[in-house]
């Protein structure tokens, strides 16, 4: 099973984000470096949820916001390692919608269940495969780096 390495502060921040936006889904971007095929998260950026029509069970990040986040990441020598979002009162498992809308092969998708306003389980899934036609989510182990001093970036919007 692959591993997603993430600093404690960033892990806690993405969970806190889900609590803040409850009962709506939160979303954000994870930035990092690929080391021997595994992502090491160095930073995270909160993103806006465009799905204001159905924010309790849908999220979408504006592509233009992603363009800017990627540009900023490249300036820092980082890559987009993955994304996070929350499932209000719903398991931290990828849904058919999550799968249908997943296109960042090789990246991690981190999902947090927020139950009654409190962050519960957080899981990570790597989008594996060589192409859209054979993509699949594979569960990942989340390894929290307690020693890292990395912190989330300011919100991008």
């Amino acid at each position: 099973m692959s591993v997603l390495h993430i600093p404690r502060a960033i892990y806690d921040a993405l969970r806190a984000h889900g609590e803040e936006t409850y009962p709506h889904e939160c979303c954000g971007v994870l930035l990092g470096e690929s080391v021997t095929g595994e992502w090491r998260v160095k930073s995270s950026v909160r993103a806006g949820n465009m799905r204001t029509d159905s924010a309790h069970n849908r999220y979408m990040i504006d592509p233009v916001e992603l363009v800017r986040i990627q540009r900023d990441a490249m300036r820092q020598g980082l890559d987009i390692a993955g994304f996070y979002h929350s499932h209000p009162d719903h398991p931290a498992q990828w849904s058919p919608t999550d799968f249908a809308e997943a296109h960042w092969i090789g990246c991690s998708y981190v999902i947090t269940e927020v139950a009654n306003g409190k962050a519960a389980i957080t899981n990570s899934f790597r989008l594996a495969g060589a192409a859209e036609e054979d993509k699949r989510f594979e569960p990942q182990t989340i390894e929290i780096d307690e020693a890292s001093t990395a912190t989330p970036s300011e919100s991008h919007n």
Binding site: Y59, P63, F83, T97, D98, H103, A131
Partner: protein
């Protein structure tokens, strides 16, 4: 011009995050990018030769879907074309 390659597509360009091409239009830039990279082309275009719906193309900060000339938009050497797959989902 510079084409920014997103993480999922770097496996088709030897891991590079950006590629320099010379072309007069967005379409020309994509053709130059995929000329010798058929696998990359399959990821960007459907069987009808149209850009896949989940592939967003930004010429600098503009979505080419909303430019008057779309893929036929003229580009400058100093321009940047960013390929950004969509990100969405939900429970």
């Amino acid at each position: 011009m510079t084409i920014i390659i997103p993480t999922p597509l770097r496996q088709f360009v030897d891991g590079q995050s950006k590629i320099e091409v010379s072309a007069p239009t967005v379409k020309g830039a994509l053709d130059a990018l995929t000329l010798d990279r058929p696998e990359l082309r399959k990821h960007l275009f459907n069987a009808e030769g149209k850009v896949r719906a989940f592939v967003n193309l930004y010429l600098n900060d503009e979505d080419i879907r909303y430019l008057p000339q779309k893929e036929d938009s003229v580009v400058l050497e100093s321009d940047t074309l960013t390929i950004i797959p969509s990100i969405a989902g939900g429970c």
